[in-house]
């Protein structure tokens, strides 16, 4: 008979804490995204693809997932630059606050979350922000 191997989880994971942090991150990033109104070129209609709805947050998440930029200030600068290039409106004080808090929370989350959970968490944050923004748009946000 084949021997039975018992596996035991060595890494202690505080799932509740992680889920709380995840919620906080989603909240901040969604709130920032509410202040982002994309530029419209001429008569063209707004696009509803995921990339266009996610705006600079899409870029932020891919930068964090790839490890392209790790410094929080650098990340914020990177996003602010994208915001200014693609948005119809300049970054508001309120928006910047949420962005800073969001990036901070995201990086904290990365520090706490185990590696094997990280990609799943990032995916969840990504789609949750997408859903919130879409709900905001269809629910009568200025962006429509």
């Amino acid at each position: 008979m084949r021997p039975i191997y018992w596996t035991k989880e060595a890494e202690e994971v505080d799932r509740e804490k992680i889920s709380e942090m995840e919620k906080k991150t989603i909240e901040h990033l969604s709130d920032y995204l509410k202040t982002f109104y994309p530029k419209k070129s001429g008569e063209a209609e707004y696009s509803y693809t995921k990339t266009s709805i996610m705006g600079p947050i899409g870029k932020l998440l891919s930068a964090v997932s790839s490890g392209k930029i790790e410094n929080p200030d650098a990340l914020i600068g990177y996003i602010v630059n994208i915001h200014n290039a693609t948005a119809d409106n300049p970054l508001s004080k309120h928006g910047k606050e949420h962005l800073e808090n969001g990036v901070k929370a995201l990086l904290e989350l990365r520090a706490v979350a185990p590696k094997r959970m990280w990609m799943r968490i990032l995916r969840e944050v990504d789609y949750a922000v997408y859903k919130n923004k879409l709900e905001y748009i269809l629910g009568g946000g200025k962006n429509e």
Binding site: Y48, T49, Y127, A128, Y130, K131, L134, E135, L138
Partner: protein, 809 residues
């Protein structure tokens, strides 16, 4: 209890969430406050009738019984903590004390102040102190005391409804309110489904004939109340007869459906009558048997490639006739016990000669000597067929086969008695076998398993893998399901087939045969509806009323039902019969439902009436098909079509067995859908619903430990965890019923939204649960963009549904 009061009481209890409060819980079963209260009321009502209480006292007893545990609404009790009368003085979330709530209800029901005071005095509220000690509770007394009512409710009805096991009756085998009334019970050790249901019915009848009244029903038995023990003991001698009669009645009733006779038909190149036990039951089965043969390809349109020299149509006619003679020969062979019974032979000869006076004796000789079945050369076959055809009165080719078939029906009916004697079901034998299932009162029967246990098991004695009786036959895979690698009775991972077979007992085999009579599809899902611990006669009447509505077809409308639940869950806080009638009325107006029923009726007419619509309409006494659709949807037509979907197999007060064809999605995704239907049924019937994984296996979960049992599928457990629906050993808890129903409705709605935008793949239901909510919306948006229609409402609706799924209620 009058209908209006009952309706009001259900509305009151459901509105206050009694169906979500566990009134009784232990490892021996759980019951909701609603089901416990209805049970106590039902038992009190019956006892009050038996003890000859006045109408007023009866009404007081019922109301007192219904409200006796109302204190369990208290948050302390909900958190499984004990509470006292002091706690009951606190105001609840609606700003009223429990006493004020009771007074409100009783005033609404039109009770006088005196009556209300009397009930208030007698209410123990389910508090831990003074449960059954009325004298301690009365400070000060406000109304008149009704000691008899008090004893019936608190000391007898509540005690009986709180019993967790049938055997517990033996501790106090008489009623406290009336010493002359005694208690007894019957119980069985294996709950098999149809056979056990027949057994329960037979025993109910026997006890009732002996003057005993069934009062509490468990899935495995019934408690009775009565006086005369001697008469009952005498009746036990006839138990075998009672069971045989009930079995005969069941099979005869089924035989009128048009499916039983068909089961006896085999193909012409193999055993032509593989299941003769179904053929000789009644005239109906004989008729269905020959009708099914008439539709066989070998009769209607046989292969005539090998025949030359005559026209194709003539060859088809002759071969068709010859094949009919083969079937008749097999009937004669069976009815004459392999040509040994001379009397049967004479009866056949006379019948044949009177039906076919001009057919030469050669043909008759061929049938009796069984030459027909063994003739090989095609020329010889053609010769016999020609002889037969030339002797027939009908010459019109189109009507020839029909005429012969109708005459064969007459001949078979003449011989039916002999067929039943030699090949029919041995009712007495089955009854004797079934008696072995009775565990109380014990009957002296020879039990092989018992002997083997006492004397030491003989080496290699095969046991039935389903119920552990002595195995007698080999089972086919479909009886035991496909999970062969997970049983200890077979080498791990090996497949059933060849010499590698499961062995089962004769009763399990009969059970599977009886099921095949009612189930059209081989792949079916099976549910058991069992009482939450036990059920009273009143609860059973409610079940019966739901079943009488005959609206099984409603359970196939997941989309509409889930929509109703999401829009207005409070709609379900009414008496189930009224809820169902309302849903049915709305569904009847829907064009697509009507169209589907019309199609189902048309196919029924094609099958049963050969497409003759007018004779169908005159049979069901309507003037148009549209009226027939109306009548059908209202449950007034006594026919079963494919539209019915869910089949209720056998209804005893002890349990209900239901089945419907399997869905074609992935297993775990199917389970989500089944869970939705089961939760809905649990909510409507106020009972627990169990999903049976292995068909024909006896019911192992006889004790209700929650609202719904779905087994321990890993994929499903993961999905339910994600939805926040707790499961305990495969059971979804009573408290979670509404929450789970709401969340599953949201999933089903999302499923149909996605199907509507052309996202159709296997396991979609599971993906909706397991993917992040944003991913689901993203899929919908992408699909909508492909169709160039941006359905804003669809997206908003799906976001709302996803939020509902995520919510922690």
């Amino acid at each position: 209890m009058d209908e209006q009061t009952l309706k009001e009481l259900y509305k009151f209890a459901l509105g206050r969430g009694w169906h979500l409060i566990e009134a009784k819980w232990s490892h021996r079963g759980k019951a909701s406050l609603l089901s416990h209260s209805v049970n106590v009321m039902g038992i009190a009502e019956r006892l009050a009738e038996l003890e000859g209480l006045s109408e007023k006292e009866k009404k007081l007893a019922c109301l007192l019984a219904f409200l006796h545990d109302i204190g369990k609404e208290h948050p302390k009790f909900r958190n499984k903590k004990e509470f006292t009368h002091k706690d009951l003085r606190e105001k609840l979330s609606d700003g009223k004390t429990i006493e004020e709530v009771v007074i409100d209800l009783l005033e609404r029901l039109g009770l006088s102040e005196d009556e209300i005071n009397s009930i208030l005095d007698m209410l123990p509220y389910g508090a831990i102190e003074d449960m059954n000690h009325f004298e301690c509770m009365l400070e000060p007394r406000r109304g008149k005391d009704f000691p008899k009512v008090r004893r019936i409710v608190h000391e007898d009805a509540d005690r009986l409804a709180s019993l967790k096991r049938l055997e517990d009756v033996e501790r106090h085998p008489h009623l406290e309110s009336d010493d002359s009334l005694k208690l007894t019970y019957h119980s069985v050790n294996v709950v098999r489904g149809i056979l056990t249901s027949i057994l329960h019915r037979a025993l109910h009848r026997l006890y009732e004939d002996a003057g005993w009244h069934p009062i509490v029903f468990f899935p495995e038995g019934t408690i009775y109340v009565g006086k005369d023990v001697k008469d009952l003991e005498k009746k036990f001698d006839d138990i075998e007869e009672y069971i045989a009669r009930e079995l005969r009645f069941f099979i005869h009733e089924r035989s009128e459906d048009g499916e039983v006779g068909r089961k006896a038909v085999g193909v012409i190149v193999q055993t032509v009558i593989p299941a003769p036990e179904y053929l000789y039951i009644s005239e109906h089965t004989v008729r269905d048997f020959w009708d099914a043969i008439r539709q066989q390809r070998s009769i209607d349109n046989p292969n005539v490639e090998r025949i030359s020299g005559i026209s194709e149509s003539e060859a088809k006619e002759l071969i068709g006739l010859y094949n009919l003679l083969i079937y008749l020969t097999e009937v004669v062979k069976q009815c004459t016990d392999d040509y040994k019974d001379e009397i049967a032979k004479d009866v056949f000869k006379k019948a044949f000669e009177s039906e076919f006076p001009n057919v030469p004796a050669d043909v008759l000789e061929c049938i009796i000597s069984s030459k027909i079945a063994n003739t090989k050369p095609i020329d010889e076959k053609m010769r016999v067929a020609k002889l037969f055809r030339n002797g027939l009165e009908t010459k019109v080719r189109e009507r020839l086969l029909d005429d012969v078939v109708s005459k064969f029906k007459n001949i078979t009916n003449e011989l039916r008695g002999f067929g039943e004697k030699y090949y029919g079901i041995d009712y007495d034998g089955v009854a004797r076998e079934l008696m072995k299932d009775i565990s109380y009162p014990c009957f002296k029967v020879e039990t092989d398993v018992w002997d083997a246990y006492i004397e030491g098991k003989k080496r290699g004695t095969p046991l039935c893998i389903l119920c552990s009786n002595r195995a007698e036959t080999e089972a086919i895979a479909s009886i035991v399901g496909k999970a062969e690698s997970f049983t200890n009775f077979m080498r791990g991972g090996s497949k059933i087939g060849g010499g590698n077979k499961y062995r089962i007992c004769s009763l399990c085999e009969l059970e599977s045969k009886l099921r095949s009579l009612s189930m059209s599809s081989k792949e079916y899902v099976e549910y058991y509806l069992i009482p939450q611990i036990s059920i009273s006669p009143l609860g059973m009447e409610e079940w019966e009323k739901i079943i009488e509505l005959r609206c099984n077809w409603l359970f196939n409308h997941d989309l509409e039902l889930s929509d109703l639940i999401i829009n207005d869950m409070d709609r379900f806080n009414n008496r189930s019969v009224d809820v169902l009638v309302e849903i049915r009325e709305n569904a009847i107006k829907r064009k697509n439902v009507r169209r589907r029923v019309e199609n189902a009726l048309k196919s029924y007419i094609r099958r049963e009436y050969g497409g003759d619509v007018s004779s169908f309409l005159s049979d069901v006494e309507v003037s148009s098909l549209d009226e027939a659709v109306d009548k059908y949807l209202k449950g007034e037509l006594d026919i079963t079509t494919q539209f019915d979907y869910l089949t209720l197999h056998l209804i005893t007060p002890n349990y209900v067995m239901m089945s419907h064809p399997k869905e074609s999605d992935r297993e775990d995704a199917n389970y989500l859908r089944y869970l939705f239907r089961m939760l809905l049924m649990s909510r409507l019937f106020g009972a627990s619903v169990i999903l049976k994984e292995i068909q024909c296996e006896p019911l192992t979960q006889k004790v209700s430990k929650g609202a719904v049992y779905v087994g321990l599928s890993l994929g499903l457990k993961k999905a339910l965890d994600k939805l926040g629906i707790r499961t305990d050993n495969g059971w979804v808890g009573i408290e979670d019923t509404d929450k789970a129903l709401l969340k599953l409705s949201a999933i089903i709605q999302l499923f149909y939204i996605m199907r509507g935008v052309q996202i159709d793949k296997k396991g979609l239901l599971l993906e909706i649960v397991n993917n992040p909510p944003g991913r689901v919306v993203c899929d919908i948006v992408n699909a909508l963009q492909k169709t160039k229609k941006f359905g804003r409402n669809d997206i908003l609706k799906s976001i709302k549904l996803l939020n509902l799924m995520e919510e922690t209620v």
